[in-house]
Every structure is written in structure tokens, then in C-alpha cells.
């Protein structure tokens, strides 16, 4: 039994080594799917607005490989994210975190709609009052 377990462990280990050796595409479809999903969340650092998934730049290819290495080494998605942010800063995240420096960024659209809705309400209110104050509408 222990021997079977050892062989099993060895097989898993061997698989991981193989994955690290040729990490362009992980042979385990579930892990590969995670890698593909992850590489869409990070930006190519040397491109204009492209994600790692979309970029043809060599650096992006290196980072795609790096993501697969981390996944093959057993990292969770969050581990990979933390690892890349630690190395390259928040700049690499396509979706900026919601925190002190980005509250304005995240809430500005809502603010615009609320302020705009207030203005529209005020205009509509006055327009309605004017309509009611007018002499009766001629029948057309």
C-alpha cells in the first residue's frame, strides 16, 4: 500500500516536472483552464492595453509560462495573483483593487448617475410645474 502510494506520488511529481519542463500548455485540462482564465486577468506589461492572454510580446509569453509554473507547483489562483503583484506591482492587474486610492475610480460612475438623476429630477419637476401653470392646452 505504501508502495502504491509512493508510486502514485512519484507519478504526480513526475507529471509536475514534465509540466514545468514544457509549460507552454499544461497537459492537465483543468489546470490549463485555470491558467487561461488567470492570464486574462493580468496585463501585458509592455503592451498598450492587451492582456497576457492576447499579447504576442516575448515578456507576455514568459509570464504565461510563469503562471503555469506556479499552477503546476500547486499555487491557488490567489497565490498566483499575490505572487505577480508582489513582483510587478498592481499595474499588472487588469481590474484594480477597491481600496483607498481607487474609491473615487470605482464610485465615480455611480456618483455621476446619482448627481445627474438629481439634476434631471429638478428639471423635470420645474418643467411639469410650468406645464400645469400654462393655460389649458389647445386641442390638436
Amino acid at each position: 500500500m505504501t508502495r502504491l502510494l509512493a508510486i502514485g506520488l512519484f507519478a504526480i511529481f513526475a507529471f509536475q516536472v514534465a509540466a514545468v519542463a514544457a509549460p507552454e500548455k499544461l497537459s492537465n485540462p483543468a489546470l490549463e483552464a485555470r491558467a487561461v482564465a488567470l492570464q486574462k486577468q493580468f496585463r501585458c506589461l509592455v503592451c498598450q492595453g492587451e492582456s497576457l492572454d492576447e499579447s504576442n510580446a516575448p515578456l507576455a509569453a514568459d509570464l504565461r509560462r510563469l503562471i503555469r509554473e506556479r499552477i503546476a507547483a500547486g499555487d491557488t489562483d490567489d497565490d498566483v495573483r499575490r505572487y505577480l503583484v508582489a513582483r510587478y506591482g498592481q499595474f499588472i492587474l487588469m481590474k484594480p483593487p477597491v481600496e483607498g486610492a481607487t474609491y473615487l475610480l470605482w464610485f465615480a460612475p455611480l456618483l455621476a448617475v446619482i448627481i445627474g438623476a438629481g439634476l434631471v429630477t429638478a428639471v423635470a419637476y420645474r418643467a411639469r410645474r410650468r406645464l400645469l401653470e400654462e393655460p389649458a392646452e389647445p386641442q390638436t
Partner: protein
């Protein structure tokens, strides 16, 4: 010699622009008819001389006159003629000449059409003259395209290969026609403020310029997105890249402007708001120019950047926007006329349209500039990518699309919500059927995608309903056609977006000749990769057979091109489209022993994205034809009903 003619023309154009601005503003006074005539003449002269400068530059590029620095840096003898011509504006200096050329075309149009009377036209020409003078000064001081080079080099440095594409060749002129077209709306807004004539007549005078700008922006954005799709090699068509956002913001504001101006045209309602939107629209065009030209961004659009130029543009930006806003704050309060309407009315629908469109534009603005501002203020670098816009922009826009069908069905002043809802019942039914069908048929099942299909059907069906109803009421003319086309186009684009974003399949593999790769029911077999040579590039061309159901249905030939003069490589994708679905194949790098990376995508309904943009532009064209007084079929009878 041509270089000197060009430079001299630019200098004369600057003088004429100054004459145009002074005479134009003088002609805005009540008794300034003679000054106004001078301004019109100067506008025509401006067009002639800027045209001459532009022609000289193109001549330099076509004849590969490498004694002109700009030509030497951006052209090459081996380039095909088309790209020699378009290369004239594929660089900073040339693109600024194009900018001023388009501006002088609009000035010429304003002077020729004399819309809205002498005073308004004259003041508008004055403002346009100021803009032309500022940009000509900018060209002459910081971006002279006719600088000579001695001794001239034997060969030029070539043009960025990404720009050597028929689609992109005409992208800048079209987009500039949009950006700069908003300057005409801006000029009319300033003219309305100066003369105090910003009423319904003003809105009717300015509308054709707004429409031309909007049509051009729509086509420019659509074309740029299509170009990105077939060029960049991974099937994406919109990146939320700052340079793209720079074109989207003016489009959103121009769309709001067109709608607000509808109310102004009719009764003079919302006149100050319409003026403000006209100012905002062009301001965002200038912001876009600043973003692209100043070096705060780097991208394929940015060519050579230079902080000094950025500073100059920033100063122009502040002068133009600040000046217009001060003018607005000073004069607009005198114009306000309270309009009267019920909360259920066409006016209210237009207000909501504007609320959502302007909020959407504000979202794009914040998302684009926030990283720059944060970096400048705190040194903290963040990226704002597609996920941000999916969370913020998309809900605002979806709310807008849900409400769109109600607008045309509501009467002015006081509408009838019940009858509007009743008339839209068939559209609602169509939306339900579309959503349920998508949920039942499309694999994998996706609720958001089905919802998008429902929304698209809602837009398209309601446009048809509106057109049919108005036809029955004998009120179907250009205006009704415009709204039906523009709103249906939105639905068509939305279908394309849903199909591509939700149901796209992708596959990539390293293939040796003879090996296959499956994708979405197709089997791709790499037959061979061969060398082919173009006029100014070497390429590797893959032959990939497409099999389906045991039959070979097509052969696709994606390429990887290297341009030796420019020292760059670009991919050339191969797309097989049925009109309803694209099979998209790109050739990647070569790996060991003749094995190649091949990437493939199946993008259902992708062509609809750009088809929808074209349909929207047709809507704009219909509105334009109406305003220019072109007769709609039997329009005499309809005119009264409209």
C-alpha cells in the same frame, strides 16, 4: 521645391486663419455684413492653401523625396503607392496637417452653406479661424512637416507595418472628420453664445455638422475596431485602450448632443444644455488629441512623442475649453427659457438618454485618466482594464438600451405611457422569444448571453414597430427612418457582442505539417508553411485546410510578415466568414523542427458588431439628408405630420 511650396502655403494659411477669426468675430455684430463676407472669403482661401500644403506633402511622399525629413523618416521607395499616400498622415507632422485640412474643409462648408444667417455663420467662422490659427501655429513651431534634410538619405526608414493596411489607411481621415467635425458644432455653440441667437433656428443650423461628425466618428470607431480584430491576431476588437477611449468619449457626448438638439430644434428646449454638450464634445476631441499626441501614452497611434508638443497642445486645450466654458458661464444664463413638459414625454426620454450617455462618457473619462492622475499625484501605478468597464460602463449602457425603445413612442410635451407600452408589446414579445430561444439552443447555456439577445431583439423589433406605426400614421420620413436605423443598429451590434464575447471558442497548439487541431466542430490541418515575398516584406505563409464533417471546406492562409526596412514583424490573420460566424486563424512563432504555433477562434456573429455600426451610420445619414432638405418619398404629405 514642393517642400517650400508647402511651407509657404502653411504660412499663408496661418495669415488667412487670423483674418478669418478677426473678420468673423467682427461680422458677428449686427452691422458687420462686410466683415462677415471677408471671413467667408478667408475661409475659402484657408481651404485652398491648407489643401495646397497637404497636396505638397502627399506629393513628397509619392515621389519619395527624401530631402524632406518627414518623408525620409516615414516612407520607403518599395512601399506600395497606396501606403506612400496614406503614409503622409501616418506620422505626427502629417497627421496634424490632415487635422487642419479637415478643419479648413469644415470652415469652407460653413462659409459655403451660410446656415443660420450671416451673424451666426460669421461668428462660427471666427471661432473656427481661431482654432485653425492655433493648430497652424502648432505645426509651424513644433511640427513642421517640410523640414529639409541635407544630404538626403538614399532610402527612407519606412512606415510602421501595422499601418500598412487598406483598412487603417482610411481610418485616420474618417476619425478626424469626426473629431474635427465636432469643432464645427463647437464653433456654432460659441457663435450662439456670442450672438445670443442660440434658439431653435440655431439648432437647425448646427445639426448637419453634428450629424456629419457623428457619422464619421461612428464609422471611424467601427472601422478601427474591425481593423484591430483582423490585424492583432487574437480576435479581440475593443481593448478599452486609452486611445480607443479617446474616440469613444466624443462619440458618447455627440450622441447625447444629437438627441438633446432634437428638443432644442423643436421648441428651443434644453438650449443651454445643448450648447454645453457641443462644447464638451469638441473638448473631448481635443483631450483625445492631447492624450494621443503628447507622449503621456504610448501606442501604435502615438507615433513620435514630444513633451514640448504635449505642452503646446495642453495650452491650446486650456485656452479652447476654458475660453468656451467662461463664455458659456457668462452668456448662457441669459438664454435660459424654461420648457414645459410632463414627466412622461419625449423631452423626459431625451433627458434620461442624456443622463445615461453622459454618465457613460464620464465613466470612460474617469477610467481613462484615473491611472494617469494617480501616477502623477502619488506615483502609484495601476491599470484600468476591461473588467472595470464591464462593471461600471456596461450597467449604465444596458439601462440606456432598455429605455431606448420608449423614446420614439412618446409624444412631445405630454406622452401616453400606456399606449407606448401597448404599441411596444410585439417588440417585448420578440425580445422574450429571442432570449428563450438563445437559452434553449445556444451551447453552453448562458443567461447573460441570452439576456443580451433579448435586449438586442427588443431594440431591433421596437425599431420596426416604430417605423410601421409611423408609416400607418403617415409620419414616416427621414427623422423616423433615422431613429429606426440608428436604434436597430445598436441591437445588431449588441447581438455581435454577445455572440463573440459569450460563445467564442478558442484553440491553440503547436503543429507540424500534417497535424490537426480541433475547434468548434472544425478540424484544422496544417498542410505546409512556405516562404512568400511581398513588395516590401518577406512572409511565412501557412496553408491550413479546414475540414468539417469529413469534407474539406476551405483553405486558410495566415501569414507572418517581416518588414526589413522597418525591422518589424506583423501577423496577417486569415478569416473565413459565413456572415453569421467567423473562423479566425493566426500563425504564431516557429518552434523547433518546423513546428508552428497556430491559434484559432470561432467567433459567432462577429460580423454583426461592425454591421451594426454601419447601420447606425445609415441612421445618421438619413437624419442628415432630412436636414439638408432632400425630399423623402412623398415627403410633401409627410412633412406636416412630422
Amino acid at each position: 521645391m514642393t517642400g517650400e511650396i508647402g511651407l509657404l502655403s502653411l504660412s499663408l494659411a496661418l495669415a488667412l486663419a487670423l483674418v478669418q477669426s478677426l473678420a468673423g468675430l467682427a461680422g458677428a455684430r449686427g452691422n458687420g455684413a462686410r466683415a462677415a463676407a471677408v471671413a467667408s472669403g478667408a475661409a475659402m482661401g484657408l481651404l485652398v492653401f491648407v489643401g495646397l500644403a497637404f497636396a505638397s506633402l502627399i506629393f513628397g511622399f509619392v515621389t519619395s523625396d527624401f530631402s524632406i525629413l518627414d518623408v525620409a523618416q516615414n516612407s520607403h521607395t518599395a512601399k506600395p503607392l497606396l501606403y506612400k499616400i496614406t503614409g503622409a498622415w501616418g506620422n505626427h507632422e502629417g497627421s496634424m496637417v490632415l487635422w487642419v485640412f479637415v478643419l479648413s474643409l469644415y470652415s469652407g462648408f460653413i462659409a459655403f452653406a451660410q446656415r443660420g444667417g450671416t451673424r451666426l455663420t460669421s461668428a462660427a467662422l471666427g471661432v473656427q479661424g481661431l482654432l485653425a490659427a492655433a493648430f497652424l501655429l502648432f505645426i509651424l513651431l513644433t511640427s513642421n512637416p517640410f523640414v529639409r534634410l541635407d544630404p538626403p538619405p538614399f532610402e527612407g526608414a519606412g512606415l510602421n507595418p501595422l499601418l500598412q493596411d487598406p483598412g487603417l489607411a482610411f481610418h485616420p481621415p474618417v476619425l478626424y472628420a469626426g473629431y474635427v467635425g465636432l469643432s464645427a458644432a463647437f464653433a456654432y455653440a460659441a457663435a450662439g453664445l456670442v450672438t445670443g441667437e442660440a434658439d431653435a433656428r440655431w439648432a437647425r443650423a448646427a445639426r448637419p455638422f453634428m450629424l456629419i461628425a457623428w457619422i464619421a466618428l461612428t464609422l471611424g470607431i467601427t472601422g478601427g475596431s474591425w481593423w484591430a480584430y483582423y490585424t492583432l491576431g487574437w480576435g479581440g476588437f475593443w481593448f478599452w485602450d486609452p486611445v480607443e477611449n479617446a474616440s469613444l468619449m466624443p462619440w458618447l457626448v455627440a450622441t447625447a448632443l444629437l438627441h438633446s438638439a432634437l428638443a432644442t430644434e423643436r421648441t428651443g428646449a434644453f438650449r443651454t444644455w445643448t450648447l454645453l454638450l457641443a462644447i464638451l464634445g469638441f473638448s473631448l476631441s481635443l483631450v483625445g488629441t492631447f492624450l494621443v499626441r503628447s507622449g503621456v501614452l504610448t501606442s501604435v497611434h502615438a507615433f513620435a512623442n514630444d513633451p514640448e508638443r504635449g505642452f503646446f497642445i495642453l495650452m491650446m486645450l486650456i485656452a479652447a475649453i476654458g475660453g468656451a466654458l467662461v463664455l458659456f458661464a457668462w452668456r448662457a444664463p441669459k438664454l435660459e427659457s424654461g420648457s414645459a413638459f410632463h414627466p412622461v414625454s419625449r423631452e423626459m426620454a431625451l433627458l434620461l438618454n442624456n443622463l445615461l450617455l453622459v454618465s457613460a462618457a464620464a465613466t470612460v473619462f474617469v477610467g481613462t485618466l484615473y491611472p494617469l492622475a494617480l501616477d502623477a499625484l502619488t506615483g502609484k501605478k495601476i491599470s484600468v482594464g476591461p473588467p472595470y468597464f464591464a462593471i461600471t460602463f456596461a450597467p449604465i449602457f444596458i439601462a440606456l438600451l432598455l429605455l431606448v425603445p420608449f423614446g420614439p413612442r412618446l409624444a412631445w410635451r405630454r406622452g401616453d405611457l400606456k399606449s407606448a407600452v401597448r404599441s411596444l408589446a410585439p417588440a417585448f414579445g420578440a425580445a422574450l422569444i429571442a432570449a428563450v430561444t438563445a437559452l434553449a439552443i445556444a451551447v453552453p447555456r448562458n443567461v447573460a448571453g441570452a439576456g443580451a439577445f433579448g435586449l438586442a431583439a427588443w431594440l431591433i423589433a421596437s425599431s420596426i414597430v416604430d417605423a410601421v406605426r409611423r408609416n400607418r400614421e403617415r409620419a414616416f420620413g427621414w427623422t423616423a427612418a433615422a431613429s429606426a436605423f440608428a436604434h436597430a443598429g445598436l441591437g445588431v451590434t449588441l447581438m455581435g457582442l454577445a455572440g463573440t464575447l459569450v460563445w467564442k471558442s478558442e484553440a491553440s497548439d503547436v503543429l507540424a505539417p500534417g497535424q490537426t487541431m480541433p475547434i468548434a466542430g472544425y478540424e484544422l490541418r496544417l498542410r505546409d508553411v512556405a516562404d512568400v515575398n511581398g513588395p516590401n516584406y518577406f512572409a511565412k505563409r501557412a496553408e491550413i485546410d479546414v475540414w468539417r464533417g469529413g469534407r474539406r471546406i476551405a483553405t486558410l492562409a495566415p501569414e507572418k510578415r517581416s518588414y526589413p526596412a522597418e525591422g518589424q514583424a506583423v501577423g496577417k490573420t486569415a478569416i473565413r466568414t459565413t456572415g453569421f460566424s467567423d473562423l479566425y486563424v493566426a500563425l504564431g512563432d516557429e518552434r523547433e523542427r518546423g513546428r508552428w504555433v497556430v491559434r484559432a477562434y470561432v467567433n459567432p456573429l462577429a460580423p454583426f458588431i461592425w454591421l451594426g455600426g454601419g447601420i447606425m451610420a445609415l441612421g445618421g445619414l438619413a437624419s442628415l439628408l432630412g436636414r439638408l432638405g432632400i425630399r423623402f418619398k412623398k415627403s410633401v404629405a409627410y412633412a406636416a405630420a412630422e
